[in-house]
Symmetry: C2
Subunit: 407 residues, 2 copies
């Protein structure tokens, strides 16, 4: 596997365009489209929130009901969530505009929206935006980067990643982009993520690979414990690489999955590190737990603890809050067997042994906690399962951003 | 039922004392003791956190293993949690000091601690503190108030409440105090709460009344989603009122329960309103849900949503976040049937009808949300069960307090 530059236009046959459609933001791009030059098979994972945005319902029907797909139309600013039947009509109108302007069948177009909940989309400006993008599609790396920028809301950085792998002597590319900064606590899936590949793979294997991959990537991220109404990850494969088709769980499939996991975990960590107001990426590793499920629950409990997140912001080695968060996770364990470690670019120290604080240097701990990426490892000494979750610190800026997001 | 002044010394036969024992805080009282002049029956509910503070283990053994109790010794500043066998020894030493200095049998003394996790108690100063309190016990209302102040940590207000009820022509008094401001998400019970009564009631009925009452009071409060290691509510009844004994679920029991519920809900709401950094008490009522359990889950999901809490701080009628939080609660419902209302001393408005925003005045909504106590009502139109949860807004000060709590 080789890490390369780029995102959704890295794979052969995919191009992208953006425009400033004035949907809610002024003076910036707020629409992006991805098109494949040939039919794709598609896979998707979607929010488990009972309140589902219109595009989530639309895309789910397309992933589960259709064998082919060609394009994705995305807007930022307004989420098209809690918008009733009108919201669904607007999905249809978006896809019809794509058919009219871009020449892709309306029933092969995904839509995705992100932003404020409860407002209706300005559908005329959205349709006009699709017209503006016509003739401006490019398969350059930069076109993918511009798309990653256009879909941002409170994100401070655009997020993309790409790799190549060798399948039977053929170079296969996977590239992706995502957005997400607040209302981040993916369940079954995440915020918005779009991954494209020129791999030749069956729809069934594509979905299997994606469903497995999101569990260890986006689903292990939490910025604020709020599972969005719009969480969507789409994966499009157009077969342009010309590799032998992947149609079973063979060696090629495993190579593809490994590369897909890399992309998704990379993007997931970018979301956590760019959490609203965050100053640090906060990683929690739980090791030697009785079962994988326990390790997942324990690590997520710490990553979502407001008190722990505030302590990380304060560079305070407040390990009692970490033990406390493990304790209320719902997983049964012996507190007097737990060891805790802090780790970052500045070093590694043990702070708890057998559930009681070690005689560590507060100064050294603070130094370790002052880095941009901080890891806590909890050794449960109760088995061999492990899990890693990603989040961020809780800061004044998180409150500031969210106390007045709509205005 | 008649609401009266006072707290833990309101009921006959209970007296209290406080002292500045220099446990962690300087220049303030940090120890309190409550003593009954005769044997009490006791009831208790305790944290479900796997990581239990030493006093929780000590008190649980006393509630479940002994028929009588006489006193409670409480300290603030250090929580005696994650302190291993030494922590348990310090509970024992505390109770032995109480026996030596105050003349109450060591095996009839409860202990309770609140503050920083992971530090050992300065047991010599704690024992000396018990000595200082000797001879200073008083059954005045003020003595109860001083006790409520001594047990505060990041609380900004002391919290106490008392009522009298008539049982068979006899005046029975129930009074209580509590503390709690952060790490508040009681599960099975709460922070620290102490309720005393001169009611004549069996231990069995006392525990039954308390277990029922905490479910609708402390267990419906969340400040930050963090369930503490020290959550404890103790209820002592010394029978000094001389009423006919309550030994079955009769009319007297129901009157007692009603009064106990009032005290516990009043104290619980005080905790929510005094949540760390809070500027507003945030109440969430879920009505017409399919089952009580669903209503509890839905209301707690909204009360713990960081995004919703930040919006309340910003006086922003961001109802999309409320619908979203209902949606990810895990309860199944039809979003297109949900109605939402905002209410406070400044008025009441409907903001969502059938899952879609109403044409309400943002100005009026902001005015309603600018009060010190704000209520959201979610009508699920799916049954007849209801529940109310209490929390607070998420503010800069919450972050400030918790980014550097230990120093």
């Amino acid at each position: 596997m080789k890490i390369i530059e780029g995102g959704v236009t890295a794979a052969k046959g995919f191009s992208a365009a953006v425009c400033a459609a004035n949907i809610k933001y002024k003076d910036r791009t707020d629409m992006a489209a991805i098109i494949s030059d040939r039919d794709c098979v598609s896979a998707g994972t979607f929010t488990k929130n009972v309140v589902k945005a219109a595009p989530v319902v639309w895309d789910r029907d397309l992933v589960y009901g259709s064998n082919t797909a060609r394009a994705v139309i995305i807007n930022s600013g307004i989420a098209n969530a809690c918008t009733g039947t009108q919201g669904m009509e607007y999905c249809q109108k978006t896809c019809r505009a794509a058919e009219a302007e871009l020449g892709v069948p309306a029933d092969q177009v995904f839509t995705a929206s992100t932003g404020v909940i409860g407002m209706q989309l300005p559908i005329d400006r959205l349709s006009a935006g699709i017209g503006k993008m016509k003739g401006h599609f490019s398969d350059d790396i930069e076109a993918g980067t511009e798309a990653a920028k256009a879909i941002m809301t409170t994100d401070t950085k655009h997020k993309e990643a790409a790799v190549t792998i060798d399948i039977g002597g053929i170079c296969v590319t996977i590239g992706g982009m995502c957005k997400g900064s607040g209302m981040i606590h993916p369940d079954m899936c995440t915020m918005l993520g779009f991954v494209t590949t020129d791999c030749c793979i069956t729809k069934e294997m594509l979905q299997k690979a994606l469903s497995k991959s999101v569990k260890d990537s986006y689903n292990m991220v939490s910025v604020d414990g709020d599972t969005s109404t719009n969480d969507t990850v789409l994966l499009l494969a157009n077969g342009a690489a010309g590799n032998r088709i992947i149609d079973s769980e063979n060696e090629d499939y495993r190579a593809f999955c490994e590369a897909l996991d890399y992309i998704n975990i990379r993007l997931a960590k970018m979301i956590a590190g760019d959490g609203e107001g965050a100053t640090a990426l906060f990683e929690v590793k739980v090791i030697n737990a009785p079962a994988k499920e326990d390790a997942v629950t324990l690590s997520k409990s710490v990553i979502t603890s407001s008190l722990t997140k505030a302590a990380i912001f304060g560079h305070d080695a407040n390990w009692g809050r970490i033990l406390c968060a493990l304790g209320y996770s719902g997983v049964s364990f012996d507190p007097e067997k737990v060891d805790l470690f802090f780790e970052s670019a500045a070093g590694r120290i043990q702070i708890v042994k057998n559930g009681v604080g070690c005689d560590y240097s507060e100064e050294e701990a603070t130094k370790i906690l002052s880095e941009e990426a901080v890891t806590v490892t909890a050794d449960m000494h109760a088995g061999s399962a492990s899990a890693t979750a990603w989040g961020c610190d809780l800061t004044y800026d998180y409150v500031k951003i969210n106390a007045d997001y709509r205005s």
